[in-house]
């Protein structure tokens, strides 16, 4: 990562009353990458985005957009924004909303081009208030990309979309990255991060607790899953060393452990009939759960994403 970051939080602190929403968060978005911001509700993701958009100012530390104050209109002319929980004027139509947003940018896409690219011709001339939740998100997404942004902020972009629409949106995001656009995305669909993200930043309690590529995050986590079909009582399995959790799903045991090899030895020794053994590395979901749990238990040294 050689070039200077497009957006940066440097030791950002933000206090709301007694709650520290951000507690010294470091974050950098590099050119051409998709950074997924993960974390439980109230972790500080939205506050982090607000700071980068200039909607709020850090109490301490710095927020920068293209090396400038995020309030700067020149910096904001280079970003596209899709926010969560906003309602646009119900009597206006997506075509008009897109055209209005596009008019704020120096060299936007033509509105019909955006509409065609996202395949939203059918809803383009319907009043916004008459659209479904997913269609509203599509209209907002169109508004986010219409200004030909260098950096795109997407707050939960696929909430309410059906599978097809979500896949289509993902494809547009991949194309945009390919065209050189950078993206910051918050999501609580982990598969979304797994499918798209070059880098993941996990935030809890206003701090960065893990950061890196999806693979690095996975590797960061020692948990593995051992799956098998066995007649052994679940209680017996639970008593084995290093076993964290045992569940059964349609006849298949699911053993979560930190030491897969030890579990396998014990399993083979105890049950000669065991079948269909499979060992899996943790997915992002497990990784995420472990990272956030362990961070709740102890205040680890936060990792740094650079």
């Amino acid at each position: 990562m050689s070039s200077t970051p497009l957006a940066r939080l440097d030791n950002a602190h933000k206090q709301f009353g007694k709650i520290a929403a951000l507690d010294g968060l470091n974050l950098a978005v590099n050119r051409g990458e998709l950074l997924a911001l993960l974390g439980p509700n109230g972790a500080g993701k939205s506050t982090a985005i607000s700071l980068l958009l200039g909607l709020q100012r850090p109490d301490r530390g710095a927020a920068e957009l293209f090396g400038e104050d995020p309030h700067s209109i020149d910096a904001r002319r280079r970003i596209g924004v899709m926010m969560q929980e906003i309602n646009l004027s119900p009597v206006m139509r997506p075509r008009e909303l897109i055209a209005q947003t596009a008019s704020y940018y120096p060299s936007p896409y033509d509105t019909p081009v955006v509409i065609k690219r996202l395949g939203i011709e059918k809803i383009a001339d319907r009043p916004y208030g008459k659209l479904s939740g997913g269609q509203k998100r599509q209209a907002q997404f169109a508004m986010a990309i219409c200004g030909r942004p260098e950096l795109l902020f997407l707050d939960e972009p696929t909430v309410g979309l059906d599978v097809q629409a979500r896949e289509a949106l993902w494809q547009v995001l991949r194309d945009l990255i390919h065209e050189g656009c950078s993206i910051v995305l918050t999501t609580h669909y982990l598969e979304e991060a797994e499918a798209l993200a070059d880098r993941v930043a996990v935030v809890t309690h206003g701090k960065l607790v893990a950061g890196g590529t999806v693979d690095e995050i996975r590797a960061h986590v020692s948990r593995k899953s051992v799956l098998c079909r066995s007649e052994l009582p679940i209680a017996t399995m639970r008593a084995w060393p290093e076993v964290l959790q045992v569940t059964e799903d349609s006849g298949r045991r699911h053993i979560v452990t930190r030491d897969a090899e030890a579990v396998l030895r014990a399993l083979l020794a105890a049950d000669a009939q065991v079948r269909d053994i499979e060992v899996r590395r943790a997915g992002l979901a497990e990784a995420f759960a472990e990272i956030t749990n362990s961070n709740q238990a102890s205040t680890n040294q936060p990792g740094s994403v650079q």
């Binding site: 200039g54 596209g80 646009l88 004027s89 009597v91 120096p106």
Partner: protein
Amino acid sequence: MNAGNMSRSRVIAAYAGDIRFELTKMIRTPAFAIPTLLFPLIFFLLFGVLMGSARGNVQMSQFAFSAYGVFGTIAPGLFGFGVSLAFEREQGQLLFRQAIPMPSGSYLLARMVMAMIFVAIVSLIMTALALTLAHVPLTAGQCVAAFFVNVFGVLPFCAIGLFVGSLVSGQAAPAIVNLIYIPMSFLSGLWIPMQMLPKAVQAMAPLWPAHHLVQLSMNAVGSPSMGDPVTHVLALIGVTVLFFVLAVRRLGGRGIRLFGSGRAGGGMPLRRVLNMGVLGIAIGLVIAGVMGGNAPHAATKTAATSNDAGGSVPDASGSSAPVGVAAPDKPVIADFDGGDSNASYGLGFNASDDKMRGGNSSAAQKVVEGALEVSGEVGTGIQYPFAGTSFLPNGAPKADWAKQGFMDYSHKQTLSFRARGDGHEYMVMMMGPALDTIPAMYNFVAGPDWQQVQIPLKNMASIDLQRVKLISFGTMAPGAFRFQIDDVRLE
């Protein structure tokens, strides 16, 4: 990829696009657009036409033209800004607009222009109705003046609406705005002229921006108006700035910036100082308006009408007329010793009433023992009845009002005469070019014994002394009357 530089023409197009956007939004919101456009026009038809011109009451239709013009000005400001801003703030639209590169202040500008366009539409239609159906006597200049009073008069209400919108929820906003709109309309004399409202209401009037605006409008069209136009304008500017600054601060507290790309840190203290300064000036202007906006009540005793003691600004309609003929040096106007009602210059004294204006008052006069006796009865046919006797200092016989000449009395100091009568209160009025403006008035009591009345002309401040058409002695109080005057002098 672009570098964030934007051409001037694109920025201007963005501002213009936002105006179009806001207008479209409002036009597609019939719950806003229809009452905003129709109510003032319906009220004008009702009061200005049916109860005004259709019954020969010109003053009524003239008053309705100003009153409902102002009524139609308040709504686009209060509702267009207040209610919809509260909704859009709650929906996160304001926050979103400041995250994307909306040009500085564009949202506010668009809504302001939208409100002004709505007012312009109402005002134009009302003017057309006034000229056609209501036959309100309006010159082209008066139409233009009233139009601009309304179009710019929306700004203080935009500011108040903005403040309400920054304060309360979208749910509560309509109720709060109505709580301001309806009582303020009444207390500002939009339903009943301020001159006819109780003294307590009159005393409070300068608090309401609608009062200042309607007085400006009445002044512009030559209706009887109160207070000094300059004071009204100052009060309105003060209200605008005050509520605007309060609203911007309040929104700022909610994390909503309406303007531009403030630099971090350093600029803050200066901005705060400026804020406080502007706020201080605004409060000063409002207080000045409150102190000065209703001044005449200190000067006159009658509650029915009231002259303007606030300043020496001549009425708008006549200030461009040529200055009158210089008054003769001789002080005596008339002593009635010749047995007739002639004066030493001009057209003599003639009994006058309000029949020409649609009233039913009557007056007769005769010379008795070297004095002029006037008697008759004041009716209640019109809003401002009158009966008495009138002197046209530069009048021509049998000419209509517009052709009567002016007299320049600006070098005279005092009007004096002797009076006696039935014990009632009477008034001296001086009128300028426009028949329909409120005249300068001075009250006197005509008791059983002859009494000398001296009126310093500076007490007749609302008359332009260079352009005096008429001096009248008489009364507006309904009922029978009888009084005598003698030795009328101006020196």
